[in-house]
């Protein structure tokens, strides 16, 4: 009851502000508050806001509730600032202020009650009013309840959804009250959906039964929680319990079905990462026969390139990855060509020496990165469009970063196949691989082809690094984590076969993900390795062995 009374005052206040705005527009800049009235309102708001200056989170929650129902126009701003950790107390005067952090420490502050600009203070000049998770949940609800009276119907829909997400039973009446005055059909629908969650606890049997039945399509964890509770609730009637059980069962079925789809997606996405990491190696190792232990470091260079691009373009986070992809290709590619021209070309046909030399190169690259960027991991930010998940169906979602990387891996693979099959370079590469002496006799400069091929493989590794920077840490050791996996994929797929790498990477990913729930992450990885060892015993040349004379050498 109390809440209802509060919210009705708020609605009246909302109307009052609106009419007030009309007055402002109509009458020019005539203030609609009397000066005295305004300062009285400020004073009372000041008192309420000052309640936040306590250490106890219980008292802060009380204060937040009091602020939410206050008639002052700055309530929403104060609550939002509190939620966003931008509400501070100024140390000198102990008043509550909005504070924005400045570069190089210190804050720009503004009075929370009057909105008056107060200039700048130092790092220690203001102290944050801290919030905890429970308070954060409450704040979101309170903000939503204020927003429910917003002008824009879309905001009202979002607010109704936010309230349903919070599932705080004290918010129910806010929805009810709004329903009485709401006129927009879409908003009414949103509020009614939101109410279903609350109706699960209704005292009226019919309403409760209807709510339970209506929840079949709702795969939200909280609904399942509630239904589980109801189905075991001794005090509920038999019919209610039965209905809850049935609904729960059908929800569980859907969830299990989605789970399989999800596992396949997880597997493909892990596979796509493996393919990305391995495909460059598939060119240098598979096509050229160079065992390049520094492949992982070339990936790492790509990831660091992403970091550098983001640092150089502080405002361009959203498109930084698009610039980082070609940049990483060029950086890693050039380093690759440098390594090939400087070291590997003297070692062709001596696999053991190549292995040792490339291992040395990998250590040099790691330490170089450590000396330039420091030992700490570098934060690479994720653009907005790669965060969150894509809701395929209600309850079945795919995370954007994984989805994009899956698509990206496909594109890279297609591009690489096109280059090898359709371009002059590709033709020369294939010729040199199949028969170096004959290719040279036909006038192909094999040394140049070697350098370009190695550069291509290294460049692809760099591009893989851009993708990995979105999934894992960017640090000097990034590459080491992927080198073993990459070799595994290439050997399993068949040396020198791009399609083999693709099939091997994806199938290993999916196999790993299907094993993981039963065996755990550690054992799943071991099982996959054991499988590959056995497989190699059986077919030493991998899934798709090279045929013909080239394979014999």
């Amino acid at each position: 009851m109390k809440v209802a009374a509060r919210s009705s005052t708020r609605i009246e206040f909302g109307r009052w502000v609106r009419s007030c705005l009309v007055v402002v527009v109509v009458a020019g800049l005539v203030p609609c508050f009397g000066v005295e009235e305004k300062s009285a309102l400020d004073a009372s708001f000041q008192g309420t806001v000052d309640l936040l200056k306590t250490r106890s989170f219980e008292e802060k929650a009380e204060a937040a509730r009091a602020i939410a129902v206050h008639t002052h126009p700055r309530t929403l701003e104060v609550l939002t600032a509190l939620l966003d950790a931008e509400l501070y107390t100024e140390r000198k005067t102990d008043r509550v202020v909005f504070a924005k952090g400045l570069e190089g420490g210190g804050f720009h502050i503004r009075d929370a009650v009057t909105g008056e600009e107060l200039g700048q203070v130092g790092r220690r000049g203001a102290k944050k009013i801290s919030v905890n998770n429970r308070l954060r949940g409450l704040l979101r609800g309170l903000i939503a309840s204020i927003r429910l009276d917003d002008e824009d119907p879309d905001d009202r829909i979002a607010a109704a959804e936010a309230i349903a997400d919070g599932a705080d039973s004290s918010m129910r009446e806010v929805l009810d009250t709004r329903l009485l005055v709401e006129s927009d059909a879409e908003v009414i629908a949103a509020i009614e959906t939101a109410l279903v969650v609350f109706d699960l606890d209704a005292t009226d049997e019919t309403i409760r039964l209807r709510a339970i039945r209506a929840s079949v399509r709702n795969l939200d964890g909280r609904v399942r929680e509630k239904l589980t509770g109801i189905s075991n609730d001794r005090e509920a009637s038999e019919a209610i319990q039965e209905a809850a059980r049935e609904t729960l069962e059908s929800i569980e079925e859907t969830v299990a079905r989605y789970k399989t789809v999800e596992t396949v997606f997880f597997g493909l996405s892990l596979g796509s990462v493996l393919v990305l990491a391995a495909i460059g190696l598939s060119i240098t190792f598979g096509v050229m026969g160079v065992i390049n232990m520094a492949h992982g470091e070339l990936i790492m260079l790509g990831a660091y390139t992403t970091y550098v691009v983001q640092t150089l373009l502080p405002g361009g986070l959203e498109y930084s990855l698009l610039i980082a992809v070609p940049a990483a290709f060029v950086v890693s590619g050039l380093v690759g060509i440098g390594i090939e021209r400087g070291i590997f070309r003297f070692l062709y046909g001596r696999p053991l020496e190549t292995l040792l030399a490339s291992f040395g190169v990998s250590l040099v690259l790691q330490q170089a990165v450590r000396s330039i960027f420091g030992t700490l991991n570098r934060p690479v930010a994720t653009p907005e469009w790669m965060s969150g998940s894509f809701e395929l169906l209600d309850g079945l979602s795919m995370t954007f970063n994984r989805l994009y990387i899956l698509i990206f891996a496909g594109l890279i693979f297609a591009a690489l196949v096109l280059v090898l099959q359709r371009t002059r370079l590709g033709l020369e590469v294939r010729a040199v691989t199949q028969n170096r002496a004959m290719a040279r006799a036909m006038g192909i400069r094999s040394a140049r082809v070697d350098a370009l091929t190695f550069g291509l493989g290294a460049g692809i590794a760099g591009v893989a690094g851009v993708a990995l920077s979105q999934l894992t840490n960017v640090g000097p050791n990034l590459g080491q984590g992927y080198i073993v996996d990459s070799f595994m994929v290439v050997v399993f797929g068949g040396v020198g076969n791009l399609w083999g790498t693709l099939v091997a990477g994806l199938s290993l990913g999916v196999a790993n993900k299907f094993l993981e729930p039963y065996a755990g992450a550690v054992v799943a990885k071991v099982l996959v390795l054991v499988f590959i060892i056995l497989f190699i015993q059986w077919r030493p040349r991998g899934l798709f062995p090279q045929k013909g004379r080239a394979a014999e050498s």
């Binding site: 950790a85 420490g105 789970k259 934060p379 965060s387 995370t399 894992t472 993900k513 992450a521 550690v522």
Partner: protein, 426 residues
């Protein structure tokens, strides 16, 4: 001519060396990895000790002598830790060593310190089940970090289901064993505990996060207790964020994630998750402000942060100085006797005392991660907690106690059988 002078100087150094050293300076060994995987965390601790030495020297040194730092680099290589420890104690004749991070490195140097009777101050939270005459544990034992964190989740947040997620090595395994026993003793059923281990640097968390989500939708409040090590945390929290698991639904409380680690993260997906430590940079105390200012000035970089192991070194260093002053000598045995009971201020405005089991008293703080990579303290123990070397929650360890005061002077005294096994570690 030159070579003769040099030879003479060499002979003189060899003959007089030990006397000259003891006459000129007091040597402080620093045994932290400056390269390899652990360099990320340990380099900062080396700098902390160097700063403490600088400040002590400015304040007039110790026993009328100046302190001299001897820094070695064990390169995140566990056997090398033992070699470097021997070098510090035998060749360099240091009076005290501040060092180690991982438990395995501590286990590796332990026999060296016991053989040569050195002093080691170990500043990191660890799994307990150890108490050596030669080691002072200034980090948290499980009852100073893990157990209070679980208490907080259980009593203040009302958590009923538990996911214990960790990296697959000794600290998470032992800690989870203790936590599992503790939870069961508090009436948590088997099916409400999910334990999961992942390899070092694990980056593909899709399945595990989806499992946690499923585990958390069974009608009871769920929390994750994470002993996941440093690096692997980024993809873990990222995946949590992407799959829509917020800190309000399923909070994650971490034991190895501090300000230093957070400074290399994109903190967006972490906001609201928890960490349990004995010190946060955001602690509101004058002594802390003063320490932060000194640190920023010493390291000459305003973006650097302070963290819990740094505070542990701060406390350990102050305690050692106090004990040396009390004993009037840097002799290891005398310092070991003198240091028990020494009380120095910690950085959160309280006091830390060295207990007879070589662990110290600490307050326990729970903080929520903020977007700026700092923690907001949401809960703290009313007073300080005494570190317990041998946990009360495991069979076999329950009856063992550590007390280095005479006449007992034993790191693993079995109260039931009344014997001291003499072995200081498992």
């Amino acid at each position: 001519m030159k070579s003769i002078t040099r030879r003479v100087a060499l002979v003189a150094t060899l003959l007089l060396g030990p006397f000259m050293w003891s006459a000129d300076t007091i040597k402080v060994g620093v045994l932290h990895s400056l390269s390899g995987t652990m360099a990320i965390s340990e380099t900062t601790l080396k700098d902390t000790v160097l700063m403490m030495i600088d400040r002590q020297n400015e304040a007039g040194g110790l026993l009328g002598k100046q302190l001299e730092a001897v820094v070695v680099d064990p390169a995140s290589d566990w056997p090398l830790f033992a070699e470097k420890a021997r070098e510090l104690l035998e060749k360099q004749q240091v009076d005290v060593v501040f060092g180690c991070w991982t438990s395995v490195s501590r286990k590796s140097v332990l026999p060296v310190f016991e053989e040569l009777n050195g002093l080691l101050f170990y500043p990191v939270q660890y799994e307990g089940e150890e108490s050596s005459r030669n080691v002072f544990y200034t980090g948290a034992a499980p009852n100073q970090q893990a157990i209070p964190a679980v208490d907080y989740l259980m009593n203040d947040i009302g958590v009923k289901r538990w996911v214990l997620a960790g990296t697959d090595y000794v600290y998470p395994r032992t800690t989870n064993k203790i936590l599992e026993a503790y939870l069961k003793a508090n009436g948590v059923a088997d099916e409400d505990i999910m334990i999961n281990y992942t390899p070092f640097g694990h980056s593909d968390w899709q399945t595990i996060v989806s499992d946690i989500k499923k585990f958390g939708s069974a009608g009871k409040k769920t929390a994750v207790v994470s002993t996941v090590n440093g690096d692997a945390n980024v993809p873990f929290y990222k995946e949590l964020g992407n799959q829509g698991v917020s800190a309000e639904d399923i909070p994650v409380v971490a034991f190895s994630l501090g300000e230093e680690e957070l400074s290399g993260f994109d903190t967006g997906p972490l906001v609201g998750h928890l960490a349990a430590w004995n010190y946060f940079m955001s602690v509101d105390a004058e002594i802390n402000d003063e320490f932060i200012d000194a640190w920023l000035e010493f390291i000459d970089d305003d973006d650097r942060v302070t963290n819990d192991p740094m505070e542990a070194h701060y406390i350990g260093f102050k305690m050692w100085v106090e004990a040396v002053n009390k004993a009037g000598t840097t002799d290891a045995t005398s310092v070991q006797d003198a240091i028990i009971g020494v009380t120095v201020p910690n950085l959160s405005g309280g006091m830390a005392t060295m207990m007879p089991n070589h662990h110290i008293t600490k307050p326990v703080l729970i903080g929520e991660i903020q977007a700026d990579g700092q923690f907001d303290i949401v809960w703290e123990t009313p007073g300080t907690v005494v570190g317990d070397a041998w946990t009360d929650h495991l069979e076999g360890s329950r009856d063992i106690t550590a007390d280095w005061m005479k006449p007992l002077a034993c790191g693993n005294y079995n109260v039931k059988t009344g014997t001291c096994s003499g072995q200081n570690y498992e």
